[in-house]
């Protein structure tokens, strides 16, 4: 196993004449919680879209586990390889119960995945982790906003992914919920797992992130620990200059 979980190499994404991502390179290691921040339109979500296979880059590639080129693969293949992602808007299946979500998340494709008691154990374990054990029978559409966020995290967690990407996990949450989520993210950190978090909430980022990447207009503006970020003149300029 390589140390580098994700290697983004010379990535360019264009929508029409707009450069969403412009020759971007970065590396994310196992055991690391990496926060990606930046103003609106900096390319954060697009970066996650490219990694999870939703958007095809114009140039560049994404290597998983240091050697597996996953650019151009289908979303499902990338997910099965062990890269899972929570979306910006809570994306849950409103017609299914909480339990069914975790069961779907635990499976990998149509055939493989845990069955019977093993599956039940896994579901119980994940629900416990995200704190939804008492909601197992409810329809996802009936859950509150915070619960939906956690449900989605539980769903992507269920398959025990190697790379976990969280797009704005605390957007719209109360302080208390944010604190719980921060604890959850830290608890998910393991030596054989990389976690990428896109977030605007700086306090939250400070609490969870080992390292921060600041994107601006599709390029890396700064990379380093959070305290350095706050001190960096360029970053301050970008955030305040708007």
């Amino acid at each position: 196993m390589s140390l580098t979980a994700l290697l983004v190499d010379g990535l360019t994404v264009r929508f029409g004449s707009f450069h969403a991502i412009d020759d971007l390179s970065l590396a994310i290691d196992y055991g690391e919680v990496r926060a990606v921040i930046g103003p609106n339109g900096a390319g954060k979500t697009t970066l996650l879209d490219v990694i999870s296979g939703i958007t095809r880059p114009k140039q560049g590639r994404v290597l998983f586990d240091g050697r597996e080129d996953i650019t151009g693969r289908s979303e499902a293949a990338i997910a099965r390889a062990g890269i899972r992602r929570k979306f910006q808007k809570p994306s849950v299946f409103e017609g299914l119960t909480v339990r069914q979500h975790i069961a779907i998340g635990a499976g990998t494709g149509f055939r493989r995945g845990p069955e019977g008691p093993a599956l039940e154990d896994r579901i119980g374990e994940v629900l416990e982790t995200v704190g939804l054990a008492d909601q197992a029978g409810r329809l996802a559409g009936e859950l509150g906003h915070g619960q939906k966020q956690w449900l989605e995290i539980g769903m992507v967690l269920a398959s025990d992914p190697r790379v976990l990407m969280l797009d704005e996990p605390v957007a719209g949450l109360t302080d208390e919920e944010t604190a719980r989520t921060a604890a959850l993210v830290r608890a998910l950190n393991r030596p054989d797992r990389a976690i990428v978090v896109v977030e605007h909430d700086m306090d939250f980022v400070e609490r969870i992130a080992d390292k921060v990447t600041v994107l601006h207009e599709g390029r890396t503006l700064f990379e380093g620990p959070m305290d350095k970020v706050r001190a960096d003149a360029g970053v301050v300029d970008v955030y305040l200059g708007r």
Partner: protein, 365 residues
């Protein structure tokens, strides 16, 4: 999804279907015997209900609206009509009309073998799977969905209609095919045949309903709902939704085909009007009125709308279109889940108005 044993509306409708199927032959000869007209009407209604189920399966549970399901309905219909004509010809020697007016001496070569029902059935299954599979594969692969899929399927069925209107295709053209006189060696139009076809339709409907109920209650059913609610989400969880959609789409097409095979012998004619975009749209209307995403809703919707249509197009032809459009608007505005909402109106709701499964998850922009 509740277990099927606890799904009381489902059990009620299933029991009603089976009871009607049993009553039709049992009452024959008694004073309560249903008239041939009625038996025939029930049989046709059952065929429509099967058709509605096929659409509900993909629209209600997969979120894909096809406005071209008449294509598969008609495909089944055409194949069974070819069987009936060829079979009638082999038994009675009657030459079909369209051969006469086209001035053709013999059946076109592709009619060979259609006198045997198993062969016709096999052709229907293969053709439906092929057409549905090919179209579905290309569409789903390029992620055509939502209203686009609806429009394209509508155009597809329209193209098929234009093609079948042509007389030189060897399928009867605009006239279509009629004059079926023999089926499985027995004469058509007798009371026994009419009852038999009606019973068969009811049994098939019951079977399809039970089968669909089993499917949507399974793990696969959960994945269908997940695809409907958020396909990208499901894909990024490692599921190739293309395969799932394709499988359900083909299954749905096959059910529609079966509905066509039941319908045509009972109505006694097939022609390209079955391919008109309006009919395909109407199927969606039945499902929407009954309750999208509820198998029972689709069945009830199809039965109700068509029963009223049968009755009104005779009793008060002028008002039917107004009633239909009124019904649609009512359903769309007041009962967003279809008339199945009526059944829940007085349900005690401790948590305030609950959103129902079918109310969400339409294709999003």
């Amino acid at each position: 999804m509740t277990r099927w044993t606890a799904d009381r509306p489902f059990l009620a409708v299933l029991a009603l279907l089976l009871a009607t199927a049993a009553a039709l032959p049992l009452l024959a000869g008694t004073p309560l015997e249903m008239s041939r007209y009625l038996a025939n009407a029930i049989g046709q209604l059952a065929a429509f209900a099967v058709l509605a189920l096929s659409l509900d399966l993909i629209w209600g549970y997969l979120g894909i609206l096809s406005l071209g399901h008449g294509l598969f309905f008609a495909l089944g219909g055409y194949v069974v009509a070819m069987y009936l004509l060829k079979h009638s010809f082999e038994v009675t020697g009657t030459v079909p009309d369209f051969l006469q007016f086209m001035g053709w001496k013999d059946f076109p070569f592709y009619w060979a073998g259609f006198g045997a029902f198993p062969y016709a059935l096999a052709v229907a299954v293969v053709l439906t799977t092929l057409v549905a599979g090919l179209f579905g594969y290309v569409s789903f692969r390029s992620r055509v969905g939502g209203v686009y899929f609806a429009i394209i399927t509508q155009a597809l069925v329209y193209v098929a209609m234009l093609l079948m209107f042509r007389n030189d295709t060897g399928f009867g053209g605009n006239n279509g095919m009629t004059g079926f006189s023999v089926m499985f060696g027995w004469p058509m139009g007798t009371s026994g045949m009419i009852t038999g076809l009606a019973v068969a339709s009811l049994l098939v409907l019951a079977l399809v309903l039970a089968g669909c109920r089993w499917l949507v209650g399974s793990r696969f059913g959960a994945l269908m709902l997940a695809t409907r609610d958020d396909e990208t989400r499901l894909r990024t969880l490692g599921y190739e939704t293309l395969r799932l959609k394709l499988a359900v789409w083909c299954l749905s097409a096959l059910i529609a085909m079966v509905a066509g095979m039941l319908y045509v012998p009972q109505v006694g004619i097939i022609n390209p009007r079955l391919l008109s975009p309006e009919l395909s749209l109407e199927i969606a209307v039945w499902v929407a009125i009954g309750g999208r995403g509820h198998l029972v809703g689709a069945v009830v919707g199809a039965l109700l709308v068509n029963a009223i249509k049968f009755w009104l197009s005779f009793a008060a032809p002028e008002v039917w279109p107004f009633i239909l459009s009124g019904l649609i608007v009512l359903v769309v505005l007041v009962f967003p889940n279809g008339l199945i909402d009526l059944a829940r109106l007085r349900l005690v709701r401790p948590m305030g108005p609950r959103r129902l499964a079918a109310d969400v998850g339409e294709a999003r922009p």
